[in-house]
Amino acid sequence: MNYELGQGLVNVLLLTGTLTLVAVGFSIVWGILNIINIAHGAFIMVGAYVTYWLFTLWGIDPFLSIPISMVLLFIVGYIVQRYLINYVIRAPLLVTFLITFALEIVIINLATVFWKGDFRSVTTAYSGAGFSIGEIQIPYVRLAAFVIALLLTGLLHVYMTYTKQGNAIRATGMDVDAARLQGVKIAHTYALTFALGTALAGAAGSLISVSFPISPTMGGLYTLRAFVICVLGGLGSIPAVIAGSLVFAFIEVFSGVYTPGLKEAIALLVMVLVLIVRPTGIAGKAFYH
């Protein structure tokens, strides 16, 4: 087998895992609350820094800090939705869009002031280690990140499908008024949904910090990627997010191989083309299955 192609395909798979985790929280917030959370990438950045500081200050293993950053960002997300966005959630699009945009610049600004703007990385004893199949290299940390990302996505799917709260969230996404009549507490459910989104962003940030350098401005790119993935896959379901991530990872890895430096522009171009051909996205559904 062609070595470059094989390595490329492995990279696509590994990237798909991370991207799925990056996009799935963004997707449920968009699907259920109809909010484009521009601050999603900023929450990913905070998650990455939680892992970084826990590792640097107390030597806590980055994979063990995932639950910590998830809980922390869950709390932050719950408060933001319950005590800010819930108050204006039925206002025109511009209002919620601008508020999350404002949150993003506030978080990035504070992170830059307190943590400095330079790139940092989490370098553990096993960071460089990996194994190889033939000539194809697979780093352990990226494989672990892949497995954990898919595990968390699977857990989310189970939660949304088989628990009462998960069903309440889906019901709210389908029809708010009907859900309210069934006794669902809407304000709480909205806050819970947003908090799930930020918690997943936190987990994504923790996983990203073990394989890539982090900085306060790293998030914007992930917000854009999450959006492109949602457009590519459609807004309907978790499998759609995985499909979107796979397509996106494919474009990014293979355009990266042949035209380095322009892969972001190519991904954006693909998104704009998809949007123009299908202005409501590929699936175009506003609720979760």
Partner: protein
């Protein structure tokens, strides 16, 4: 005060507002005779922001399309002017026209497909395009100078530089106000508002909605492009991460929303209020490092309490009470 029939004009708060506004403009027009460098500089920046906000108001306020990439026009205006001056050896005013034309052309070419999108999709597509244009300016080193930027000649004679850029920005603001007034009393203005209120109904009534949206987008590019052209020459330096900064988009949207989207004076008033507020905060509390945090907090407060802007209060349409500030929350909370 029964002279010149002005009493009718000045009856009611709107008349007084216009009268006050006239006096204010007169004061601004003679200010450079008295004021020093710092105030000229601050006011020039406010004028450029006000001009961009007036432009954003066409697409975001009157036409109702949440454009989040208008900084692209600002940057293209700056780069177009800089390149015309450096490569074609144009003097500033023809170069400014080149920059503005480039920004408007971009708005039309991009607007035709992108303005078919709605809501979130349109908003993100414009963010993405602005980011992409900035990256192209950064990568296309042969043409744009890349991340090293472009250096422009100084304004000559340099001792009048402050006054020159003050007055030209001031003229741009006045031109923007006139353009708003002129467009909004004509057919084009009505077609914009019709698109905002109900695009499908507007189409059924025979309005060419594509033309309405593209014209609003192109005219907002005109204002932002001209502001960028002036800014680039004033700064004598054009840098991708400076002229494509997303903060400018946010500032022009905030100015418009703070003053009152879809009003003639709103963006102008909003730009002044925002800029004075942030200058005072940075100047007296030494919080320069937290500039963006302050911007963000102001945006959040405005969006929660007065998303329709302050124009309604100034013109007396609404009374400024606690209850009216909480109206947005009352109607839009869960």
């Amino acid at each position: 005060m029964k002279i010149l029939g002005l009493e009718k004009f000045f009856s009611g708060r709107k008349g007084w507002l216009w009268g006050l506004f006239g006096l204010f403009m007169l004061a601004l027009a003679v200010l450079p005779l008295f004021a020093s460098g710092f105030w000229l500089r601050t006011l020039t920046l406010i004028f450029l922001l006000a001009a961009m906000a007036e432009g954003w108001n066409y697409i975001g306020g009157y036409t109702g399309y949440a454009a989040f990439g208008n900084v692209a026009f600002f940057g293209i205006g700056a780069y177009g002017t800089a390149l015309a001056m450096l490569r074609l050896h144009f003097s500033f005013f023809p170069a400014l026209l080149v920059g503005v034309a480039a920004a408007m052309l971009f708005a039309i070419v991009i607007g035709l497909p992108v303005l078919r999108l709605k809501g979130h999709y349109f908003a993100i597509a414009t963010v993405a395009l602005a980011t992409a244009v900035g990256e192209v300016a950064d990568y296309w080193t042969d043409f744009t100078g890349g991340s090293a930027g472009l250096t422009l000649p100084f304004f000559d004679p340099i001792e009048y530089s402050g006054q020159f850029f003050y007055y030209i920005s001031f003229l741009l603001v006045i031109f923007g106000l006139w353009l708003t007034y002129f467009v909004m009393k004509g057919k084009m203005g009505y077609s914009w508002v019709a698109v905002r209120e109900d695009e499908d109904a507007a189409k059924m009534m025979g309005i060419n909605t594509t033309w309405a949206k593209v014209s609003a987008f192109a005219l907002s590019a005109l204002m932002a492009g001209a502001a960028g052209a002036i800014y680039g020459y004033w700064n004598t330096f054009v840098l991708p991460e400076e002229v494509f900064k997303i903060d400018y988009t946010l500032q022009m949207i905030l100015s418009t929303v703070l003053g009152g989207p879809g009003t003639i004076l709103g963006p102008f008033i909003g730009a002044f209020l925002y800029y004075i507020l942030i200058t005072l905060l940075v100047f007296f509390f030494h919080v320069g490092a937290f500039h963006e945090t302050i911007l963000g907090v102001i945006i959040i407060l405005v969006m929660v309490f007065t998303p329709q802007g302050l124009m309604d209060f100034l013109s007396g349409k609404k009374k400024l009470t606690l209850s009216s500030l909480l109206e947005n929350i009352r109607t839009h909370k869960v």
